[in-house]
C-alpha cells in the first residue's frame, strides 16, 4: 500500500466509535433484528447476522428472499427502518449519509454480478478508481492497480477498455477493483452470476486466495451452492429473516 493510500484510509478512522476491533457481540460486522420494506413489500423482517473478522460467509436464499437487501444494509448502502447495523464497534445505521459514503469508499470493497466497470476507463484505471476516489495520487494509484494484473491472470490487459474484455476478464478486473484498497470487508453480490461455470470458479478461486492473504472479511450473496462452498459457512435468508442450516446462531 502506498503512503498516499494509507493517509486516505486513515481519513476514515475518525468514524470509529469505540476503537475496539469488534462489536459488543464479538462480531466484526453485525446486523441485529433488521427490518426494511420497499413500499408495502417487506424485504427484511427481523434479520440478524454476525460475521467474525476474516470470515467468509455466504448468504444464500431464493430470489426475492431479501439476501441482497441484507447485504446493502450491512454495507451502509441502505438504512434499515428498524434494527441495528454494527461495523467494527460502531453503529453504522446511525451515521450520516456522508460518513457512510466515506466508510464504503475507504474501508469496504464491492463486487457485483456484472462488473459495472466504467466503459470510458481502461482496465487499470478502473482498478485504480477506489484509490483515486480516496485521494491517492494518480501515479501511485495506477501503480498499485497494476500489481493486481499478474495475480489475477490479466497480464497485458491493463490498457483495454471494458468492451474489449471477456465476461470473465471483466469480472476479475472488478474483483481487483474491489480489493485494491485492501478493504476490511468485501461485499460480493452474486460475483459469478453472469459467468459460465469455469470462469466463475476461476473468479472464486482468486477471490478466496486474495482475501485470505489480506485477511479481508467477506459477505458473499449467492444462490449458487457451488459458489457458497468457497465460504467458511453459509446462512439462508427466507422471507426476510436469516436462519442457519444447523440451528446455530447466525
Amino acid at each position: 500500500m502506498t503512503p498516499d493510500h494509507n493517509a486516505a484510509r486513515h481519513s476514515a478512522a475518525n468514524l470509529s466509535v469505540t476503537g475496539h476491533e469488534h462489536g459488543a457481540s464479538g462480531k466484526f460486522v453485525e446486523a441485529v433484528d433488521l427490518s426494511l420494506s420497499f413500499g408495502s413489500t417487506p424485504a427484511l423482517r427481523g434479520a440478524s447476522l454476525g460475521v467474525a473478522k476474516g470470515e467468509i460467509v455466504a448468504v444464500m436464499g431464493p430470489s426475492g428472499s431479501g439476501k441482497s437487501t441484507l447485504l446493502h444494509c450491512l454495507a451502509g448502502i441502505l438504512v434499515p427502518s428498524s434494527g441495528e447495523v454494527h461495523f467494527n464497534g460502531m453503529r453504522l445505521d446511525r451515521l450520516s449519509d456522508d460518513k457512510r459514503s466515506a466508510l464504503r469508499r475507504d474501508r469496504f470493497g464491492f463486487v457485483f454480478q456484472s462488473g459495472q466497470l466504467v466503459p470510458e476507463l481502461t482496465a487499470e484505471e478502473n482498478v485504480a478508481l477506489p484509490l483515486l476516489l480516496s485521494g491517492t495520487r494518480r501515479g501511485p494509484a495506477v501503480a498499485a492497480a497494476r500489481t493486481w494484473f499478474p495475480t489475477l491472470g490479466l497480464d497485458g490487459l491493463e490498457s483495454r477498455r471494458s468492451g474489449e474484455l471477456s465476461g470473465g476478464q471483466a469480472q476479475r478486473v472488478a474483483l481487483a477493483r474491489g480489493l485494491v484498497a485492501e478493504p476490511e470487508v468485501l461485499f460480493a453480490d452474486e460475483p459469478t452470476g453472469s459467468l459460465d461455470s469455469v470462469s466463475g470458479e476461476l473468479v472464486m478461486d482468486l477471490l478466496v486466495s486474495a482475501v485470505r492473504e489480506q485477511g479481508t472479511t467477506v459477505v458473499l450473496v449467492t444462490h449458487d451452492a457451488r459458489v457458497a462452498a468457497y465460504a467458511d459457512r453459509e446462512v439462508v435468508v427466507r422471507d426476510g429473516t436469516v436462519g442457519t442450516l444447523t440451528g446455530a446462531k447466525p
Binding site: 431464493p62 451452492a225 468457497y230 439462508v236 436462519g243 442457519t244 442450516l245 444447523t246
Partner: protein, 176 residues
C-alpha cells in the same frame, strides 16, 4: 466401478507387474480406498484363467517372486467394449432422502427440519470437496467436480421439495 476391467485397462498400456498395477490404480482411482495386494493378485489370476491376460514366467530377484502380466486380444476387446458402453444412469428411486421426507410427513413430523440438516450436510461436503479441488491437480478437479455436480443436483431437489412440503404432506396423509 469394475476393478477387473480397470486393471485390465491399465494393463493395456503395456505389460506390468501386479505391484505397479496396484500403485497406478490407487493413484488414479483409489481416492482413499486402495486395493489390497491380495485383491490385485486374485483379480489378475482370474483374468489369466479367463484368457483376458497371460502371466509371464516368474522373475527371480532380490525381493519376492514377481510375474509380469500381458493383456490378450480378448482382454483388449473387453476393455474397448467397456469404454464404449454407457455406465447405467443411477435412477436413485430408492433414495434415502426421499424416504425420510415422505416418512416424516406421514408421521406428521417436521420434514423441513430434516431437509435443513441434510442441506447443511451437503454444503459441508461441498466445502470439503471445493478445498480438495483448490489444493489438488487436474485429475483431482475432475473427480471433485463430478461429486460436486451430484451434490448440487441433490440440493436442487431439496430446495424444490422444501417449497412443496405442504402439498406433499396432503398427498401422503391421504388428503387431496
Amino acid at each position: 466401478m469394475s476393478v477387473p476391467l480397470t486393471l485390465l485397462g491399465l494393463l493395456e498400456r503395456g505389460p506390468s507387474h501386479g505391484y505397479d498395477l496396484k500403485r497406478d490404480y490407487d493413484a488414479y482411482f483409489g481416492q482413499g480406498r486402495p486395493l489390497r495386494y491380495s485383491q490385485v493378485y486374485a483379480t489378475l489370476s482370474r483374468l489369466a484363467r479367463d484368457g483376458k491376460a497371460v502371466a509371464g514366467p516368474v522373475e527371480q530377484g532380490a525381493g519376492p517372486e514377481r510375474r509380469r502380466y500381458i493383456i490378450t486380444d480378448e482382454g483388449v476387446a473387453d476393455v474397448e467394449k467397456w469404454l464404449a458402453e454407457p455406465a447405467p444412469p443411477e435412477p436413485d428411486l430408492q433414495s434415502e432422502l426421499f424416504a425420510k421426507v415422505v416418512l416424516a410427513l406421514m408421521l406428521g413430523k417436521h420434514a423441513d427440519n430434516y431437509l435443513d440438516v441434510q442441506r447443511a450436510a451437503h454444503l459441508q461436503r461441498m466445502r470439503e470437496l471445493t478445498e480438495f479441488k483448490r489444493q489438488g491437480g487436474t485429475l483431482d478437479v475432475l473427480l471433485a467436480d463430478h461429486a460436486l455436480y451430484r451434490l448440487e443436483a441433490d440440493l436442487r431437489w431439496i430446495d424444490h421439495t422444501a417449497a412443496r412440503l405442504d402439498m406433499i404432506a396432503r398427498t401422503v396423509q391421504g388428503q387431496s
